[in-house]
Amino acid sequence: MLEVEDLEVCYGDYQVIRGVSLHVAEGEIVSVLGPNGAGKSTVLNAISGLRPPRAGRIEFEGEPIGGRPPHEIVRRRLVHIMERRRVFPYLTVRQNLWLGGYNPAARDAREETLRHVYALFPRLAEREDQLAHSMSGGEQQMLALGRGLMARPRLLLVDEPLLGLSPAAARHTFEVLRRINETGVAILFIEQNVQTALGLAERGYVLESGRLVLEGRSGELLGSDAVKQIFLGG
């Protein structure tokens, strides 16, 4: 459903992504791995329209979306949850969720989607009227996920959902991602920890200095010497 081919992205004159190709099939769950600064976030930003690519092709459900603005892309139910959660700190939990369903494709079904999200995260329902910034990291991650789900995604891009979470909150977040995937939503997520990532994903891509250095099924990658070299430095 998502096809990225020879993607190149720059910040000013500085080329960060140097020809990355990847794909995600309907209902799949795929991870993007790589050390800090490899360009993982930049790839997701290019797909969701936050950072227009310099070159390359991005197709979603057969239609080219490369360089289109974010508000057009989210309407296609391709939803991006950014690194560090980025909830609206001075809006309430409910307002954050409500805005998640702002785009015209999700707007009419908001009440119903909100009930689903509250069923998935009862904690959010309890904290409905609390300002987002006053919640714990784990709760904010739930809110970020819930807000993403409010856009009724068919493909969810999730950037480092476990960043800064306690082990318990991390396990819960993974469990939730698995459940979301089981409802038929495809997921492309970024994670620094190889074991964790490949425990959840069916396939993985390894990025280093803006290039794809490895790709494969999780089982293959876990056993590969190259992965050990990149992530364990030898």
Partner: protein, 294 residues
């Protein structure tokens, strides 16, 4: 104590009432400024000139068609809304990522341009609208309240209430807040943040225009008229907290009262000195301002 005055209860109440009336006007002017700053962290140095343009547009419609401010007010507020939107698309949009000095000189340049334009069109002279419909004064048990002042103040308070409800109770208002809090995240929700910026400039200019058109019932119109209002608005925004609309209301009213009482107790010549002394004191103790988040 101003020389020659005796401090009676009536005088004190009279002063407090005048201070409050002025305060609501300051509050609305400051709210417009704060809205724009909260949205995109740009200080609009042409804010006072937006006010001046709104006043001259009332004056112009009076000269051309004999329209009373009461009639032309809504038109002029709409005109300033459009001018605010045009400022965003014509200037601000192009300098969003520019260095701060560029942003300052851009809105400052706009201010000088608008002032010069006013001088060119209407000379630097003081103008006023003769015999506006809203006139006269009320005598409430010895306390005198000018009707134009009362109407201006009530109009500003009403506009403030509408602004508050819009921002906090409507979908678009919520999108505006979301854009202010995290532009990228907002755009991923499908919010067209560039339009929100334009809307913010429109509303900001409309706020200061409401104050401006109301003032034409009793205030002189001249190219520099916006200067002191804008200056006070900058203080109110810093005092109330950058980006806080409620803070702007409190700070505006506080400044109105301090100005009036300071003028009564010391000397009117010192009233701005008192305002800025208060500002410095609060900013040193609480740099974020009274309601600020930054």
């Amino acid at each position: 104590m101003a020389p020659g005055a005796t401090l009676t209860t009536e005088i004190v109440i009279q002063t407090i009432v005048s201070g409050l009336l002025m305060g609501f006007i300051y509050a609305l002017v400051a709210a417009g400024l704060s809205l724009i700053f909260g949205l995109m962290e740009i200080v609009n140095f042409a804010h006072g000139e937006f006010m001046m343009v709104s006043m001259y547009s009332v004056f112009g419609l009076y000269l051309a068609f004999g329209l009373d401010p009461l009639v032309s007010a809504p038109l002029c507020v709409m005109f300033l809304f459009a001018l605010g939107v045009a400022t965003h698309y014509g200037i601000i949009r192009h300098i969003l990522n520019a260095p701060m000095l560029v942003q300052i000189t851009a809105t400052f340049g706009l201010a000088i341009f608008l002032r010069s334009l006013a001088q060119f069109l209407w000379t630097p002279d003081y103008q006023s609208i003769p015999d506006p419909i809203v006139s006269g004064r009320l005598d409430l048990a010895g306390i005198f309240i000018g009707v134009p002042q009362l109407v201006a103040s009530a109009g500003c308070l009403l506009a403030f209430g509408v602004l508050y409800l819009f921002i906090n109770r409507t979908e678009t208002g919520m999108a505006l807040q979301a854009t202010a809090q995290d532009r990228e995240a907002a755009s991923l929700m499908g919010i067209r943040t560039d339009r929100m910026y334009a809307l913010g400039w429109g509303i900001g200019a409309a706020c200061v225009a409401v104050a401006g058109v109301m003032l034409t019932n009793y205030y002189y119109i001249f190219p520099e008229v916006g200067f002191i209002f804008a200056l006070i608005a900058y203080v109110a925004v810093a005092l109330g907290g950058f980006g806080s609309i409620v803070g702007a209301l409190f700070a505006g009213v506080l400044i109105g009262l301090v100005e009036a009482l300071g003028g009564l107790l010391l000397d009117p010549a010192y009233k701005y000195a008192i305002i800025f002394a208060m500002y410095l004191a609060i900013v040193i103790v609480r740099p974020k301002g009274l309601f600020g988040r930054f």
